[in-house]
């Protein structure tokens, strides 16, 4: 099975995602340039972190119009597993594959540090190898990670169990002090209604080796392998 790592001109976690997939997970990975029009037969698509077009206007606003986004949307709509990390999350909300948007952190500052998130749903292709309620330690690195959606949308997300990750303390408690950016209801990551598109602000690809601080994020990538099975068919939940 093969992961495609989409490269926008200002992506900067593309190499990290590639390294994690190829050299830590041991799966096949290929970069896909944003001007290309197909995903090269990939089974999983990663939209990596970074500043896709400098993001001076709004994070992810311009990337949404890149040629590669049409095949990404088609892939997602056909049920293919898509993971958005950080800027990838922002792009996915801009393109409408995920609801809501990401505002400036409530401290108005860029924040880079280790946080904890609790896995709230394991019936997605990126959490199926985790256990429900598992606490993962992963870094964040963003200035605009403050998840916002109108109350009715938030209620619908909760009702459909689309909240996949929530910020928590080391013991798994969802408390405001553990919410680094002011995200509504502590939301760190979510999925679409069909559950194949998952995005989160923390960086699982930066947390795949204990040498660099944590290996907790590897389960996100391992889940994709488990979800696709040996025949490449998606199965979760």
């Amino acid at each position: 099975m093969k992961f495609a790592v989409v490269v926008f001109p200002g992506s900067n976690c593309d190499h990290d995602a590639y390294h994690a997939v190829k050299h830590v997970l041991g799966a096949d990975a290929e970069f896909v340039w944003h001007k290309e029009a197909d995903l090269k037969g990939a089974d999983v698509v990663i939209l990596p972190g970074g500043f896709s077009y400098g993001d001076y206007l709004r994070t992810g606003a311009i990337a949404r119009f890149s040629p590669i986004m049409a095949p990404v949307v088609a892939f997602a709509e056909a049920g293919g597993p898509v993971l958005g990390v950080c800027n990838g999350f922002q792009v996915l909300t801009e393109v409408g594959l995920l609801p809501g948007g990401l505002l400036r952190n409530r401290s108005v500052k860029f924040l880079c540090e280790q946080v904890h998130v609790r896995v709230e749903a394991i019936d997605t292709p990126f959490t199926c190898a985790a256990t429900a309620g598992q606490v993962l330690r992963m870094p964040i690195a963003h200035g605009e990670g403050n998840y916002f959606a109108p109350p009715d949308v938030l209620d619908a997300l909760e009702a459909n169990r689309q909240v996949v990750f929530r910020y928590c303390d080391a013991g798994g408690e969802i408390i405001d002090a553990a919410n680094p950016n002011g995200s509504a209801r502590g939301i760190a990551g979510l999925c679409n209604a069909r559950r194949n598109v998952v995005a989160l602000m923390p960086h699982p690809e930066r947390a795949c080796e204990s040498a660099v601080g944590s290996a907790d994020g590897l389960v996100v990538l391992e889940s994709a392998v488990a979800a696709l099975g040996s025949d490449g068919m998606l199965r979760t939940g």
């Binding site: 900067n12 001007k35 400098g54 500052k109 860029f110 002011g182 660099v212 601080g213």
Partner: protein, 750 residues
Amino acid sequence: MAIDSETLERHGLIPAEYDKILDILGREPSITELGIFSVMWSEHCSYKSSRIHLKTLPTTGARVVQGPGENAGAVDVGDGLVAVFKIESHNHPSFIEPYQGAATGVGGIIRDIFTMGARPIALLNSLRFGPLEDARTRGILEGVVAGIGGYGNSIGIPTVGGEVAFEEGYAGNPLVNVFCLGLAKAGSLVMGQASGAGNPVYYVGAKTGRDGIHGATMASAEFDERSSEKRPAVQVGDPFMEKLLLEACLELMQTDALVGIQDMGAAGLTCSTSEMGSRGGAGIDIDVSRVPQRESGMTPYEIMLSESQERMLMVVKQGREAEVERIFEKWDLHAVPIGEVTTDGQLRVRQDGAIVAEIPNGPLADQAPLYDRPTEPPAYLATSSRLDLEALPELPATDAALRTLLGSPAVASKRWIYRQYDHMVRTNTISPAGMGAGVVRLKGTNRALAMSVDGNGRHSYLDPHLGAMLAVAEASRNVACAGALPIAATNCLNFGNPERPETMWQFARAVAGIGEACRALDVPITGGNVSLYNETDGQAIYPTPVLGVVGVIEDASRVLGRVFPGAESTVLLLGGGEGALGGSEYLKLICGQVAGSLASLSLEAERALQLLLVELAGEGLIRSAHDCSDGGLAVALAECCFDTGGVGAELMMPDAPGDALGDGRIDVSDASMLFGEAPSRVLVSVADDDFGLVRMRAEAAGVPIAGQGRTGGDRIRVSLAGRPVLDIAVAEAETAWRQGLERYFEDRAA
């Protein structure tokens, strides 16, 4: 147009320099030519006051691949890789527009690194501000930190460390020094050289505008209330453009189509054309009407002197143009040919074909005036060295003093700063910021690189020679504490007006100190930057040499940090015991004085200590290492206990002198033991089983063990000759340390 004295003055040129121009040209210069000379011969570009001193620095060594003279230095780090690194200042722009000034400083140093063909993998920053009690200073700090983060985070280079200090003297003239390190394959470095007659000269990157004209001359003059007129010299950084340039240039360098490349930094097109020409012994002929322009009606003078950011100049092989253009198009950049290399050694500038400037490259770049400026020891030294320890007011209890020190922004946790920097992107950062030196692993090898930037303006003020040596020693000691063998250094020399003999004396003494220490510690200088005229309204900063040292760790799994691994370890103080109160943080903060003599430095002892640390770390015999710097032994011991989850430690100093005054008070000698500052002292933790071996190794290396103790409990304790002199709960100390910097900004967070 005739060149009158007012025009000369506006260009910062003196009559003797003008005569030299007449001599070189054999005629009167045009205004464009005068502008070109003025920026090339500005202090910033020509190093005319500093060069004779810089020439005394050691710049060679077995590992040095590229010394000073190119865009950055380079050293061999093994496994067929070279590390390319340099430090740069952006002091003046950061004062007048903190965010953009600092951001464009980061942009500049990154360009210096990738221009050499190296992929930038780490940034560090060294910052100096006035006291944080001042709202304006807080605003500057916030802007500078946001700007450094804003640029580095966006482009995806981790900021893995740095330092920050606060002293009155920087209130009107903050210092923002940025260090960048990149990695290249050995033998693949690209030079800033023009050669091969007929080869096209390409321009790529942002369009040229009127912004930043005379930035280099601005960095070569003092500040006063009239400086606001020069303000448009600050630019808005475009990290996205730089990211495109970085990727496109590195991609181009994979081919062999490139002859030479240089970024357009200070003095823009002028500096890049003439330096590339003179390095390659070639001429360059360009037409400014082909330069992409953002504004209409720009004159050749303006185009040649513009300092618009994010631009590069390249010489490529004739016949390879299409290939080069294609690579840039891929990144949505348009490389445009603006001229070609010639054989006649002239920098020839045309506008629509007509020649508007013609200057021989060699003399322009290399025959800049050189000054051996007069030096004279400053008068303050006669009194500042006097410190009557007996006359100090009654000293506070040691736990209160420690709390005060830990809670002062200079010593406190710098988390408020480094959490705004992406210090993990590229997944190489082994030692997260705050753990000591910045350490990045080199994927595909077993190695890691450690780097640290250090300086102490107060020390250098009291003793420029020793202060500079201490800065070299501290930076390389920090690297050794991570387990890395220090291999090379870069330096940023921040001083006042060199035309004052006192400043020039400080400068000369500092450079001598750096040279001496770098020789003894075997860290040759591969490059650097000089920032003079750091004065506002006649008030000079502390003389502030900042050293950046790079070290190699053979086995990345053996990297050490500051933090004790937990309870039940042996703690050792390697090196000497006593510190000096002269020039210390304690003396300033607790006693309100900046005076006295600094502790002396034995370079042999320092070298022995550093080599011992590298050896012990490499064999896995020590588990943590942290040097005693600001705040002395007590602060260092406390810092080893922080971030452990509250694990305490006790340290016993058997041979300590002095008697207690009783009733909880302490005397000056106790204070020197606990809070005095001295180089060559490192706290390490050792597994009990390894203690005997470590002691033997230390003995063999001639490194004394001045104190011994254990981790455990939840208090920080020190005893001198069996007499308890410090006892404080880790939690209490850690709270003070955590809040020391943050508390100044609390009201600003939602």
